[in-house]
């Protein structure tokens, strides 16, 4: 066991929190945001893949965005962990030992 500088630990938490806020804001915008303005988009008459844009966002656009966000999160989080010297093998051993009580 060695001590982690408070500044380093806080930085780790801050990076992860900022990621969560950004990803959730994008997710919120493509679902609630588009639905809120659905009537104006509908009247605007824009088409995506042949269907009205607000319908496309509900049927495909939002879902695809969610999937992309989750994979981005998993990949970027791995990099963040690596940058802070986290070793996944050790994580596995620690959680395997600590969890069953």
């Amino acid at each position: 066991m060695r001590k982690v500088e408070k500044a380093t630990a806080d930085k780790y938490f801050r990076i992860r929190t900022i990621m969560v806020i950004i990803f959730l804001a994008i997710g919120f915008a493509v679902s609630f945001g588009v639905a809120f303005f659905a009537e104006s988009i509908y009247e605007g008459g824009a088409l995506i893949l042949g269907m009205p844009a607000h319908y496309y966002m509900g049927a495909q656009g939002a879902v695809i965005t969610f999937v992309v966000l989750l994979f981005l999160n998993a990949m970027i989080s791995d990099r963040v962990d690596k940058a802070f010297g986290i070793d996944e093998k050790q994580n596995e051993q620690i959680s395997g030992g600590a969890s069953d009580h």
């Binding site: 066991m1 060695r2 001590k3 982690v4 408070k6 380093t8 630990a9 780790y12 938490f13 992860r16 969560v20 990803f23 959730l24 997710g27 679902s31 609630f32 639905a35 809120f36 659905a38 009537e39 509908y42 088409l47 995506i48 893949l49 042949g50 269907m51 009205p52 607000h54 319908y55 496309y56 509900g58 049927a59 495909q60 939002a62 879902v63 695809i64 969610f66 999937v67 966000l69 989750l70 994979f71 999160n73 998993a74 989080s77 962990d81 010297g85 986290i86 996944e88 050790q90 994580n91 596995e92 051993q93 620690i94 959680s95 395997g96 030992g97 600590a98 969890s99 069953d100 009580h101």
Partner: protein
């Protein structure tokens, strides 16, 4: 028995044999096998199992039909049931995994060091899962009843027997691998018919790219008929109802105990993040297909069924009229079938469309097997959750802390059989249509658990009093609003399916206000909450973070 019933039944029996075989092969030997599969499931497979667990009768049988009937307004289900995985994977799953317990009530009980909170959470988990399972059983009743020309209630009973056997034998480990198989079967069964429909209607085998033009054409057909356009927003309900339903489904998804428990079956926080990503990818395959299914169904009905003479109806209509889920009345009195003459229950669309489009006995049978896979896989996961709430949280943690492994396993199996039989009895005469029953379960889950779990993970100052007040208040407000709105008393045009909005708000406010008015929790509990901010290798202790470089213990 005609050829169709024979083919469908054979396919269903073959898949049942597969599920039972898998569950016997992976028979649970110790308690942790039973509840969390000994935490050894790799993320891709766990993601697929979450997909099978998640996609229930409502997703498979109900959703496409709901979109077909409601048009744009039905898309709240598509976005809500997928968007919940963002909240779950970002805000809850990895942290709950690091906390490392077996169940949601156990997290709540230990995090706030309160047996009262544990008991309330266990009872709420049982209520939520029980509501959800009724929807699954009535879904399987529809399928079996239609196939064998039996009353739906007999179909329910057949489903109950199969579910109880494999869930109580295998436990979570058996259920995990069964759910992987069920996912593969249900996704194949869902996508094959829409590929055929896409070929039939547009000549292109990729439905996801072709149905946009069909959606546009449906709008034109509707304009001609003088009804509101298929894709016009908020024709069936207010914008506030759409947003409230979307919110309820999203937050409920993130707080459903049987989904959260899946994230306890992975090894680490990292694996939890990847499981969430894979799960949503597998789930999205079906959710991206449902609007295509809906568009093709509506197009085929509009162009091939509507406008036909009413006394020469095709053969597929008769069995569905017999089930009471399809009504045909010649309202115009001109002997021609009009769109207005058809009263279609959304629950039959997925099952009936392949028959309407003449896709052959094999595809129709495959759909039936897929529908059963969806209903059974979700029911299996729900039963494990009910059994663990009872056997682990109430029996072991509260009543008999000295109970042996064997006794706890036995209590879990008894709980499964009792819950299945009780849910089966309610499902004989279901209190609503599938999607509606399921939407209540989401409202209850979000209203009872989401703010408590969210703040429990992220706010160290939260205490037991806040948790208890939040859960009781949220549960009460959600239940109260469901009953009020069913009786016509509504706020802002929000219906019973959007009740979660009020439950979650009440819960959140109660947690914050009551926690601040009562003494802060003990220091070690606050430290445990701080610890969840960091990966496993980092430990928070007395205001300092420690890195564990050698995990030799």
């Amino acid at each position: 028995m005609d050829q169709q019933s024979l083919v469908s039944l054979t396919l269903i029996l073959l898949t049942f044999a597969l599920y039972i075989g898998i569950s016997v092969y992976n028979r649970a030997k110790v308690t942790s096998d039973f509840y969390v599969a000994s935490r050894g499931i790799p993320p891709v497979w766990n993601g697929m199992a979450i997909g099978g667990d998640w996609m229930s009768a409502a997703s498979f049988i109900g959703m496409a039909g709901t979109v077909m009937i409601l048009g744009y307004d039905g898309l709240a289900y598509i976005m809500g049931w997928t968007g919940g995985y963002l909240l779950l994977t970002f805000l809850l799953a990895p942290q709950l995994r690091k906390y490392g317990r077996f169940t949601v009530p156990e997290f709540i009980g230990d995090r706030f060091d309160s047996n009262a909170a544990r008991l309330i959470a266990a009872i709420a988990t049982i209520i939520i899962s029980f509501t959800y399972i009724i929807g699954q059983l009535s879904g399987s009743g529809v399928v079996i009843g239609r196939l064998l020309n039996l009353p739906a209630s007999t179909g329910v009973m057949i489903g109950v027997v199969v579910i109880a056997i494999y869930a109580s034998l295998g436990g979570m480990k058996g259920v995990t691998w069964t759910q992987v198989a069920q996912y593969l079967i249900l996704i194949t069964a869902y996508i094959i018919p829409i590929i055929f429909m896409s070929l039939q209607v547009t000549g292109n085998p990729l439905p996801w790219l072709t149905y946009g033009n069909i959606v546009n054409e449906l709008g034109a057909i509707d304009r001609e008929l003088g009804i509101s356009e298929y894709f016009a927003p908020f024709t069936e309900s207010d914008r506030s109802q759409f947003l409230a339903l979307l919110f309820t489904l999203m937050v409920g998804t993130a707080a459903l105990p049987h989904v959260i428990v899946r994230f306890y079956t992975v090894t680490t926080m990292k694996a939890a993040r990847w499981s969430g990503a894979w799960a949503l990818l597998f789930i999205a395959l079906l959710y991206l297909s449902a609007p295509a299914y809906a568009a093709f169904s509506r197009f085929i009905i509009m162009t091939q069924v509507v406008g036909q003479p009413i006394d020469e109806l095709p053969a597929w209509t008769e069995p569905w009229v017999n089930t009471g889920l399809l009504e045909i009345a010649d309202t115009g009195g001109d002997g021609i079938l009009e769109w207005e003459d058809l009263v279609i229950n959304p629950d039959i669309v997925v099952m009936a469309t392949p028959e309407i489009a003449n896709l052959g006995v094999f595809v129709v049978g495959l759909i039936a097997a897929g529908a059963m896979a969806a209903a059974l896989s979700t029911a299996g996961g729900l039963l494990i959750t009910i059994s663990s709430s009872f056997a682990h949280d109430i029996y072991y943690r509260l009543l008999k802390p000295d109970a042996t492994d064997a006794k706890r396993l036995k209590a879990g199996r008894i709980a499964i059989v009792l819950a299945t039989v009780a849910a089966g009895i309610v499902a004989l005469d279901p209190p609503g249509v599938i999607t509606q029953i399921i939407a209540w379960a989401f409202g209850l889950a979000g209203g009872t658990f989401f703010p408590v779990l969210f703040l429990g993970v992220w706010w160290k100052r939260m205490n037991a009093q806040g948790a208890i007040a939040g859960m009781l208040g949220g549960l009460g407000v959600t239940l109260g609003y469901i009953f009020l709105s069913m009786n016509g008393i509504m706020l802002f045009g929000i219906q019973d399916t959007g009740a979660g909005v009020f439950g979650v708000t009440a819960n959140l406010l109660l947690v914050i206000i009551v926690s601040l008015l009562t003494p802060p929790p003990a220091q070690h509990l606050q430290d445990e909450a701080m610890d969840l901010r960091y990966p496993e290798q980092m430990t928070y202790k007395d205001g300092e973070v420690w890195m564990n470089d050698s995990a030799d213990k």
